[in-house]
């Protein structure tokens, strides 16, 4: 009988925001981490650690089901997995280019499959240039311009210092400009 009552109490409404995020994005987070780490147990560790970060940043998530939340969560787990990968890289000497290739393989496949003029042109010249940036620049730009986080917040989220955030934004702008001038 008690089990029955407990199951009734545990409705969608009673679930915490955190549980909903786990149910909705847990496997996606694993997918992203596993793409980078290529190890199921390490990927689970990355997902777990990312959830600890999400608990600390729950106030930044308004609607669990929206695109913005998916983007925010994807950046958290991706960057945590990259940090884990880099720590292992120091041990096993894996190049940063390999990380980049692994990270964007699916995205590049998606772009190739959907490479219609409409799709690519909808991104515009600046968008196409941004797509060519390394993920460390792209993610800082997304946190700054899509999630509208301040530099100290981005720094805390990505475990980097504020000066690095500023430098990455500045360098990203320079790289975009250089790419656009090259295209023209």
């Amino acid at each position: 009988m008690l089990v029955f009552y407990l199951s009734v109490i545990d409705t969608e409404e009673d679930k915490t925001k955190f549980e909903l995020i786990y149910e909705q994005y847990g496997k996606l987070m694993f997918y992203i981490a596993n793409q980078i780490l290529k190890d199921k147990f390490l990927a689970e560790d990355a997902v777990h650690d990312s959830f600890i970060k999400i608990i600390k940043n729950l106030d930044k998530i308004q609607d669990v089901n929206c695109h913005k939340t998916k983007s925010f969560i994807a950046i958290i787990v991706k960057n945590h997995a990259i940090n884990m990968f880099n720590n292992r890289k120091r041990k096993y000497c894996i190049s940063f280019d390999e990380v980049q290739n692994m990270l964007f393989k699916d995205f590049e496949d998606f772009v190739l499959e959907n490479n219609t003029d409409d799709n690519v042109n909808s991104l515009g010249d600046i968008g196409k240039a941004i797509m060519q940036l390394p993920t460390i620049y792209k993610d800082v730009m997304i946190l700054k311009f899509v999630h509208e986080l301040a530099n100290p917040e981005i720094a805390t989220l990505l475990n980097i210092n504020e000066a690095t955030v500023r430098k990455r934004i500045e360098r990203a702008k320079q790289k975009i400009k250089a790419l656009l001038e090259k295209e023209n």
Binding site: F18, I126, M131
Partner: protein, 56 residues
């Protein structure tokens, strides 16, 4: 040829790229994976913690 853009244009472009990337990811329901028991236990602990945090 020098090319200039302001932060508004950049913001608009970053939003489009982010949407493009997020749309390229599979849905949670499309990913077939069973988390290990160890992971599920750790997550249960975190869920409990998150509920306590909510009550405080």
């Amino acid at each position: 040829m020098p090319y200039s853009f302001d932060d508004d244009k950049l913001k608009e472009a970053v939003k489009k790229v982010d949407e493009y990337y997020i749309n390229s990811l599979p849905g949670n329901e499309d990913i077939e994976y069973q988390f290990s028991n160890k992971f599920q236990k750790r997550m249960k602990k975190l869920i409990k913690q998150s509920k306590k945090k909510k009550l405080l």
